[in-house]
């Protein structure tokens, strides 16, 4: 495996994320697949934040373990991150700000002093320009050609012209040259590799998928880590023709989306666990009124406010059980932006076909970190069938007609002669309430049961329509990882490490966590020898679901709930323990 990981650390407000994104984009322009980790805190200024861009072959799906280059904007960054550096690596710092003695660094790590502040003063009194010198030095050490970096920096200023762009180009060139004099690139420094990749985070992929799927209305309330779905869509509202509404709360957001969907527009809302908790009642209303809606739930570490900027897969039970009573739903759980794009497109299709809520389960790790995507992984051409399928003035039209598959023909307000009332109360085929004067009267008792059966029949169709579990890796392996969502990334990277050690493993992943077709899933499990569930929550929620739905018990579990993503080495260690010593 070839890899190079570059890390930048400092305080919130130092511009760490933009340095990191520029580096990541330079790698992706050179044709490298990469993973960009944006580690931050719930503060606007201060604290400690860092970004890591890790380019690798084979394609990396996680932040990996360790780094090669570190640009430290403060002394704390050196203390926190130098121990993670691999031999041959370097620490870039400005000696005017603090001293770094090579003797204080791990063996084989070089100290590379770059006068970033002095360089900045050549151009301006604004100290933020120091970052340009630092990024230039890093680019040299990483093997990024200066013109590639300059193009990325120039593009990052967009249409802005003038001295600020010139200063950045000048200062980064100065930093590049300073590093040429005092630094030595590690042996793993990058060489240009091929045509540029696309660089995006999970939220951008979700928003893009929604737009491609014909979503014309997004209502949302700000909540980390879902907010950037709204930001991206709002920035593209005009060009894509999508109305973006920041609602007064999550209650309003989902109700607006359901209202817009009722009136014939593909609609979405997005939130994290706290906001989703507020949406729970409306989810059931969408189920009861049979109104499609796509809800993105980007999980963060709970309970309650929890760790707003840290990741977890702790909301699965909530998503499975959200809403009183029973109604059909599907939960798609992408692991990667290319996957998130496809899952979002599919969520709109399923929601509309089955006229019920469909959840896209993301988490902070997928939503806010950067991944490369090959252009052919994003198919922008999505078939969006017309909603106006019932001829106007159809005699005997019943909005909630009993059908074999439970899907009844939808009429859209504005269509003549098909008027009906969508009711959150139980209703008959016409939509007439059977909740008040009819409730408990024998003939209507039967109708209630028939209507429940009709709605729940849609779950059978959903089960056949959602993507089935996928076995990755060698068909026969002594150990099978079981994973869903973003955790799959670190598992894949761990499998590469294990394979290199002569320890083949495979992965049974679930692109849809609900509903699970028991026949397909049991068949998949029957081919496994020993299973290791890797899940980012305390109780192994997906393991519980497998037990409940399939009667399958995983042999071993690796659970993590410290807010940090899984690191491949943690999974490797657990897998080796299980394979060598039988695990727990």
């Amino acid at each position: 495996m070839t890899e190079l990981a570059v890390r930048v650390g400092g305080q919130a407000g130092d511009g760490i994320a933009s340095i990191g994104e520029s580096l990541a984009r330079s790698f992706s322009r050179l044709g490298w697949h990469l993973f960009g980790l944006n580690a931050y805190q719930s503060v606007i200024r201060g604290g400690h934040v860092w970004f890591q861009a890790r380019a690798a072959d084979p394609r990396p799906y996680s932040q990996g373990d360790g780094a090669d280059l570190l640009y430290a904007l403060d002394k704390a960054t050196v203390e926190i991150h130098a121990p993670s550096l691999r031999r041959g690596g370097s620490v870039v710092f400005d000696p005017e700000k603090f001293a770094v003695a090579e003797s204080d660094l791990p063996a084989g790590i070089r100290a590379v002093p770059i006068p970033t502040l002095e360089i900045a003063r050549k151009y301006t009194s604004q100290s933020i320009l120091q970052n340009a010198g630092g990024i230039g030095a890093l680019a040299y050490l990483a093997g990024i050609p200066l013109d590639t970096l300059h193009q990325v920096l120039a593009d990052s200023f967009g249409k802005k012209k003038g001295e600020i762009v010139d200063w950045n180009l000048g200062a980064s060139a100065d930093g590049y040259r300073a590093a040429e004099k005092v630094g030595t690139p590690p042996a793993t420094a990058l060489r240009p590799r091929g045509s540029p990749k696309l660089l995006m985070n999970g939220n951008q992929a979700i928003a893009l998928g929604a737009a491609a799927a014909g979503c014309k209305f997004l209502a949302q309330y700000p909540m980390t880590p879902a907010s950037s779905i709204m930001h991206w869509m709002a920035a593209h509202s005009q060009s894509l023709g999508v109305v973006v509404k920041q609602a007064e709360d999550e209650l309003a957001a989902i109700h607006m989306a359901i209202g817009a969907s009722f009136a014939g527009v593909r609609s979405m809302t997005a939130t994290s666990g706290g906001g989703f908790s507020l949406m729970v009642e409306a989810l059931g209303m969408a189920g009861m009124t049979e109104t499609p809606v796509v809800v993105v739930e980007s999980q963060r570490a709970g309970p309650s406010t929890g760790l707003p900027t840290k990741t977890e897969q702790g909301d699965l039970n909530l998503m499975l059980g959200a809403g009183q009573g029973e109604f059909p739903r599907a939960i798609l759980a992408p692991s990667h932006p290319a996957d998130a794009y496809r899952a979002t497109v599919q969520a709109f299709d399923l929601a509309e076909r089955y006229q019920t809520p469909v959840l896209v389960a993301s988490d902070l790790h997928l939503s806010e970190n950067f991944f490369t995507v090959d252009r052919d992984e994003i198919d922008l051409h999505v078939d969006v069938p017309s909603l106006f399928v019932v001829p106007p003035n159809s005699p005997d039209y019943h909005r909630y007609q009993y059908t074999p598959d439970g899907v009844s023909p939808r009429a859209i307000p504005g269509q003549a002669g098909l008027q009906f009332v969508a009711g959150s109360d139980e209703h008959d085929e016409h939509g007439h309430l059977i909740s008040d004067v009819k409730a408990g009267v024998p003939v209507w008792v039967t109708e209630r049961q028939k209507m429940m059966d009709k709605r729940m029949r849609k779950l059978d169709g959903l089960m056949r329509s959602v993507p089935p579990p996928v076995l990755e890796g060698p068909a026969s392996a002594p150990l099978t990882f079981v994973a869903w969502g973003s955790t799959i990334g670190a598992v894949r990277d761990a499998m590469v490490v294990l394979a290199a050690q002569g320890r083949p493993t495979n992965l049974l992943r679930f692109p849809a966590v609900y509903p699970i077709d028991p026949t397909a899933a049991r068949t998949a499990f029957s081919a496994t020898r020993r299973t290791l569930l890797v899940e980012a929550n305390y109780s192994g929620q997906f393991g519980r679901l497998l037990r409940a739905e399939l009667g399958v018990e995983v042999s071993d579990r690796l659970l993590k709930y410290d807010g940090e993503p899984f690191f491949p080495h943690e999974i490797v260690a657990k897998a080796l323990d299980v394979m060598q010593h039988g695990g727990q």
Binding site: A212, F217, S237, L240, G241, I258, G259, P413, G414, Q419
Partner: protein, 299 residues
């Protein structure tokens, strides 16, 4: 600017389109309930405006009054408690060619749904919101509501309410509603005028209606209001004058004003949302307008 011609005007209705009337579902309200007068007034208003059934959506929450959409022949959305307005807003934004009317009670609108009420008004969404305000929770058999009078004894307040009631008219004025009216279900003719005026008004129209609960509210009865209400239009009130509107809104006691408090022209949310200038969203083509260029920023 939004395409205001997308909105069906009475003259567009044509003779062939059935206009809104009664549905085949009979109201289940208690005999004598004030809400009968409200549904009659809404029916009169939409008939007068010759609104075709297919182009009207009545949206409600939960409560006795929220059953109203079932009793008319238009489209309806009978959602959950307190959330009629965000559903109604979503419908308007999806298709601003539709006439959207929100209906519900005082608990639905001013209690559990108070946040949505305030925000829908400040947005000036072009819809009409009619509240059947009976100052009590009826469907749950008689608890205090946000508009119950101080001292009112209810099942949940056996010693009397100890909170000030919400003043819906003052709240609407403070929140930026551009058409603020109060009706009385004992005066269906005036109420129909107020609702029709609200539907014709471009912007958020709020019509609060004294709609007595004959079963659970023994204070705010039909007689209570008949003895106290007077009509603003007969009292020389100028609805274009915001200060006068506030003065009238604060009147309560032996004399209680009904009629149009305030009306002002202001751009609607739909006017200001640029994406809607290309026509109703529901009729805009699906798929990416920008084609593959949307990926350029990710390179």
């Amino acid at each position: 600017m939004a395409d205001s011609s997308a909105r069906p005007l009475p003259s567009d209705a044509g003779p062939s389109l059935p206009i809104v009337g009664k549905s085949d579902t009979k109201p289940t309200w208690c005999p004598g309930c004030g809400d009968f007068g409200v549904v009659a007034a809404i029916e009169m208003a939409v008939k007068r405006l010759k609104l075709p059934s297919q182009n009207v959506v009545i949206v409600s929450g939960i409560g006795c009054s929220s059953n109203l959409p079932h009793f008319l022949s238009s489209y309806g959305f009978h959602g959950i408690h307190g959330r009629s307005l965000p559903v109604a807003e979503g419908i308007r934004w999806a298709n601003h060619g539709l006439t959207v009317i929100g209906t519900g009670g005082d608990g639905d609108g001013f209690g559990i749904g108070a946040g949505h009420f305030v925000h829908a008004m400040r947005r000036n969404v072009d819809l009409t919101y009619v509240t059947m305000d009976n100052q009590i929770y009826g469907l749950t058999t008689g608890q205090a509501s946000p508009t119950s009078t101080m001292g009112a004894k209810t099942k949940s307040t056996p010693n009397g309410v100890i909170e000030q009631p919400i003043d819906p008219i003052a709240l609407a004025l403070a929140s930026g509603a551009t058409y603020v009216a109060r009706g009385f279900s004992g005066d269906v003719k005036q109420l129909a005028d107020l609702v029709a005026g609200g539907i014709q008004h471009r912007g958020f129209s709020f019509v609060d209606v004294f709609s007595p609960c004959v079963t659970y509210n023994k204070i705010n009865t039909f007689d209570f209001f008949r003895q106290r209400v007077y009509k603003l239009e007969s009292a020389g009130h100028n609805p274009a004058d915001p200060v006068a509107a506030w003065q009238r809104a604060l009147e309560w006691g032996d004399k209680i004003p009904i009629g149009l408090f305030y009306s002002v022209d202001r751009p609607t949310y739909e006017d200001l949302e640029e994406v809607l200038s290309a026509g109703p969203l529901a009729h805009q083509p699906a798929g990416l307008r920008s084609g593959d260029a949307v990926l350029d920023e990710f390179v």
